[in-house]
């Protein structure tokens, strides 16, 4: 009978679907033994690769920072240099040579000894070929390895970054050395477990789903309380926060500003607002006609009075409240407060004072035209303000800046563009010379954990054509930059840096709006004895993400950790059961009732 065929076909379809469930789900069945205590961290994106030569995702750094040591690590207390692969080090008088002494019996997770060869290989090969590691070794002239436990680094000029700023992970040469460099930067897939020196090493990596790290048997430090860490990808921020609420994960290292307040008042969830070496700034086009003859900008943007008036007109406090829901940190100058050992509130801090802004503009001769922008000799205070479409916070901040500047007679026309477009506008070149095509834009920078050199470098003349996007060029600033890079004495270095900040506060190539926060949330019933660290004060971080693995050695499983909450699935089973029974009953009743009913409605 034809109908039988129809049912056989549907049966076939159901079978394929069930098979699909089996095949697909079998993939995810690997994993730890029963009874292990697991720290589950949920985030929006998993690194697309854990190969340090190729990886460019921020998340990859979180994994690498746990898997490997740096030559010199950062102390979670105040991020100052502490022993990493190198146990101790001494600096030559002329400060151009540093000798590092390694721990003779330190071993890799696969039992091989950690030697100076590994250090030399990592600094030279990863330092020159790694996608994000190339800017740290340009000052190093040579690296010697007199014996297995000593490494001597010679530099052209005294460079404080060698101790506490050399942000290159030390890889096991016996694993990575055998692979030709062409493959390393190509499609090489690191074998697992990822041989490392940190407390946990990667044992399972599925790009779109999960990264598992288990305890490193040969770790030289104290044994961590957790047996395993799992980084679980949720595709978007909101899904990760939901998973925390439901108990599917124990910690979310990067919480959205929108979700921060909401998670805060959940019963067993603790939220942390940690400072970070990053800020969001409004950049003014400071390129002189000599350096950028064909640049496109309204010359009035280079009038100091206009910049300082804008600084006074912008209420940074209100932008933080509205755009970032009060989760960012108030900004004072271009050095984030994260760098505890070098940070001070600069003298001219431009508090919110629209009257003073108007005063400055009047004194500078900018005629007040009421609502329309001020004018002076044919020039008009009307500028474009580019902002990236991918960042809602930047867009919101730009609109607020425009609103507030309009009150004092400066018009900023907010233009939302894609990141690529903004990148093209800032690095635009015309016949070989830089020619930036913008008046102002809002973007952000993120620095290294301890050493502020990178952040300070973006305003040096040397970086024009490199990472400088404001094309600020001030010989005194450049000189001070070299001085601070070479000074090993923190107090002296702090003085130099403060003078640099004062300079930028005066010239205002950047008006820094907020220092970006690290927003974290964790379940107090799953993770115990968490103290804010990196740095150790009220603005501390729970696990020093991407900076130091030491907090991972102290935090311990909470009262009800281990298997994920079973509660949810119980109800789900009940619901599905009810639905099935209901549908079944419906059919039975329908069949019986219909046995002798009237023939149904036929059309007329």
């Amino acid at each position: 009978m034809r109908l039988k065929r129809v049912w056989t076909v549907t049966g076939l379809l159901v079978a394929t679907v069930a098979l699909g469930v089996g095949v697909a789900s079998a993939g995810g069945a690997s994993g730890s033994k029963q009874g292990d205590s697991i720290l589950k961290i949920g985030w929006a994106q998993n690194p697309s690769t854990i190969n340090p030569y190729v990886g460019q995702d921020e998340e990859a750094f979180s994994i690498w920072a746990i898997n490997w040591d740096l030559l010199v690590n950062f102390s979670p207390k105040d991020l100052s240099p502490t022993p990493g692969i190198a146990e101790s080090w001494d600096i030559s008088d002329d400060k151009k040579t540093v000798t590092f002494h390694l721990d003779p019996n330190a071993k890799w997770s696969d039992g091989q000894p950690i030697t100076s060869e590994d250090v030399k290989y990592s600094l030279e090969v990863l330092g020159s070929k790694g996608a994000l590691f190339t800017s740290y070794t340009d000052n190093i002239t040579s690296i010697e390895t007199p014996n297995a436990d000593t490494v001597v680094i010679h530099t052209k000029r005294p460079d404080a970054r060698i101790v506490g700023g050399l942000f290159i992970y030390i890889l096991p040469k016996h694993v990575w050395g055998k692979v030709p460099v062409g493959d390393l930067t190509g499609s090489y897939k690191p074998e697992l477990p990822l041989v490392g020196s940190g407390p946990f090493i990667v044992t399972d990596f599925e790009p779109n789903r999960i990264t598992k790290m288990e305890k490193n048997p040969n770790f030289r430090g104290p044994e961590p309380k957790f047996d395993e860490i799992q980084f679980i990808r949720y595709g978007n921020q909101d899904a990760a926060e939901r998973a925390l609420q439901v108990g599917e994960v124990d910690m979310v290292p990067e919480v959205s500003a929108a979700g921060f307040a909401r998670l805060g008042d959940q019963p067993n969830i603790e939220t942390l607002r940690a400072s970070s070496p990053a800020y969001t700034q409004m950049a003014f086009n400071s390129c002189s006609t000599k350096i950028c003859p064909d640049a496109q900008y309204n010359p009035a943007i280079q009038d100091l009075a206009v910049r300082q008036a804008t600084a006074y007109a912008v209420d940074r406090e209100r932008i933080n409240q509205i755009a970032a829901r009060d989760t960012s940190f108030e900004a004072h100058g271009m050095l984030p407060s994260f760098y505890k050992s070098f940070y001070e509130v600069p003298a001219d801090d431009y508090p919110y004072d629209p009257e003073k802004a108007k005063q400055i503009l009047d004194d500078a001769g900018w005629q007040d035209n009421g609502d329309s922008p001020r004018t002076k000799g044919g020039q008009e205070l009307k500028f474009n303000l580019y902002v990236r479409s991918e960042s809602p916070y930047d867009i919101q901040a730009a609109k607020l800046v425009a609103e507030q500047a309009k009150a004092v007679g400066i018009e900023y026309d907010v233009q939302v563009v894609s990141t690529d477009k903004l990148y093209d506008l800032t690095v635009r070149k015309v016949n070989g010379k830089p020619a930036p095509d913008y008046d102002t834009f809002i973007w952000g920078w993120g620095g290294d954990p301890y050493d502020p050199s990178f952040l300070l470098s973006v305003l040096t003349t040397g970086e024009i054509g490199g990472s400088s996007d404001s094309y600020y060029s001030n010989p005194t600033y450049d000189r001070l930059f070299k001085q601070q890079a070479g000074s090993f004495d923190t107090a002296q270095r702090k003085g130099i840096i403060q003078r640099m900040v004062a300079l930028t506060q005066h010239d205002l190539p950047y008006l820094v709006i907020t220092y970006d926060p690290n927003l974290e949330a964790y379940r107090t019933d799953r993770v115990a004895n968490v103290e804010p660290t990196c740095p150790e004060d009220s603005t501390g971080d729970a696990i020093c993400d991407q900076t130091s693995y030491e907090p991972l050695l102290t935090i311990a499983p909470g009262s009800s950790s281990g298997e994920s909450g079973g509660g949810g699935s119980g109800i789900a089973i009940a619901v599905v059961a009810v639905v099935v029974v209901g549908v079944g009953a419906f059919f039975v009743i329908r069949a019986r009732r219909r046995r002798d009913s009237e023939p149904l409605e036929l059309d007329e």
């Binding site: 009978m1 034809r2 046995r595 002798d596 009913s597 009237e598 023939p599 409605e601 036929l602 059309d603 007329e604």
Partner: protein
């Protein structure tokens, strides 16, 4: 001897408008009754009403009683429920439709469809059903192998024969054939009619043959009923109705028949068309198109016997001869 089928005052309304407006019929066992009339006069609706197959939107009333052989008390169709009717349908009365092409389920083999009908009314083993089907197919002149085919794999004539086989599956005492041959060409038409004729004699089958083609009815039926606008306007033995039509509508119908061998002219069609159920003319429904209409026709004409077994619903019946189309109302027939 009581009639096989007795229908009195059958009415069918659709949203208050009468489609079948008081039909009386009687049919003896083994008798063939023709039902003729223009399309839209309610022939098919009447047929479906006999088997209570009308969609619920059509309201049916009036008495229909069946006295099939071997069943003591008469079956009153009017009062039967759907379940009750299901035991009657095909057991005592079966149906043959005009377009056999879509009277058979296109995705089911024809023998399976016949088997389904048989198994509905008799609990018979597979082998016995198989035998019955082969026997049915041979009686209608088809080779049993054809049973394995689908409807679209048979010719027009074969399909119609298959329909007849299906109709005879449960040995009914009455078969209603609604325009069975209209879709066939003349030669095959004759064969099918001839088949129906022979089956009637052999199985003592009563037949109601519905057609708008008087020629077909003349050949096969004993008696004939002419329907117009939901009513029977004339009924009687075929011979007397054809020779001496007693109703102007029947007369015009017969005149429009081309006579074989006669002048090669088209019969003159009857002017106008059947009335719309919504605006039924007063009194005799044919009045607006009747050349002999008169004031008397304004009152409802009843079906009156004009001779033995021959009745007509015309005030002026019986008509001894048909004068040329005089002016309306001028002639008072005797």
């Amino acid at each position: 001897m009581s009639a096989l089928l007795k229908v009195s005052d059958l009415r069918v309304e659709y949203r208050g408008q009468p489609i079948v407006d008081g039909v009386d019929l009687a049919l003896e066992r083994g008798e063939a009754m023709g039902l003729a009339g223009e399309s839209g006069c309610g022939k098919t609706t009447t047929a479906l009403a006999l088997m209570k197959l009308l969609p619920p939107a059509l309201k049916q009333s009036g008495a229909v009683t069946l006295r099939p052989p071997g069943v003591e008390e008469p079956i009153n169709v009017g009062r039967r429920t759907e379940a009750g009717m299901r035991r009657v349908r095909w057991r005592h009365v079966s149906l043959v439709f005009q377009g056999a092409m879509n009277s058979l389920d296109p995705v089911q083999r024809v023998d399976a469809q016949i088997a389904e009908a048989i198994r509905l009314h008799e609990s018979a083993g597979a082998k016995e059903v198989r035998a019955r089907i082969d026997e049915l197919l041979t009686t209608v002149g088809l080779t049993p192998a054809l049973g394995r085919r689908y409807a679209h794999q048979l010719s027009g004539g074969q399909r119609q024969r298959m329909m007849i086989a299906l109709a005879l599956a449960c040995r009914p005492s009455l078969v209603i054939a609604d325009e069975p041959t209209t879709a066939l060409d003349v030669t095959i038409q004759a064969q099918v009619l001839q088949l129906l004729e022979s089956l009637r004699e052999r199985l003592g089958l009563a037949l109601i043959l519905i057609s708008h083609d008087l020629g077909v009815l003349a050949e096969t039926c004993d008696r004939i009923a002419i329907m117009y606008a939901g009513r029977i306007v004339e009924t009687g033995p075929v011979s007397s109705v054809f020779e001496a039509p007693q109703h102007p509508y029947t007369k015009r119908l017969l005149d429009s028949l081309p006579v074989i061998g006669g002048p090669r002219a088209l019969g003159d069609p009857i002017p106008g068309g059947p009335p719309d159920p919504g605006e039924m003319p007063e009194g005799c429904r044919f009045r607006p198109r009747c050349p002999y209409a008169a004031d008397r026709c304004l009152s409802d004409p009843a079906l009156r016997e004009t001779s033995a077994g021959h009745a007509s619903a015309c005030h002026f019946a019986p008509w001894s001869e048909w004068p040329a189309a005089a002016g309306a109302g001028s002639l008072e027939a005797g």
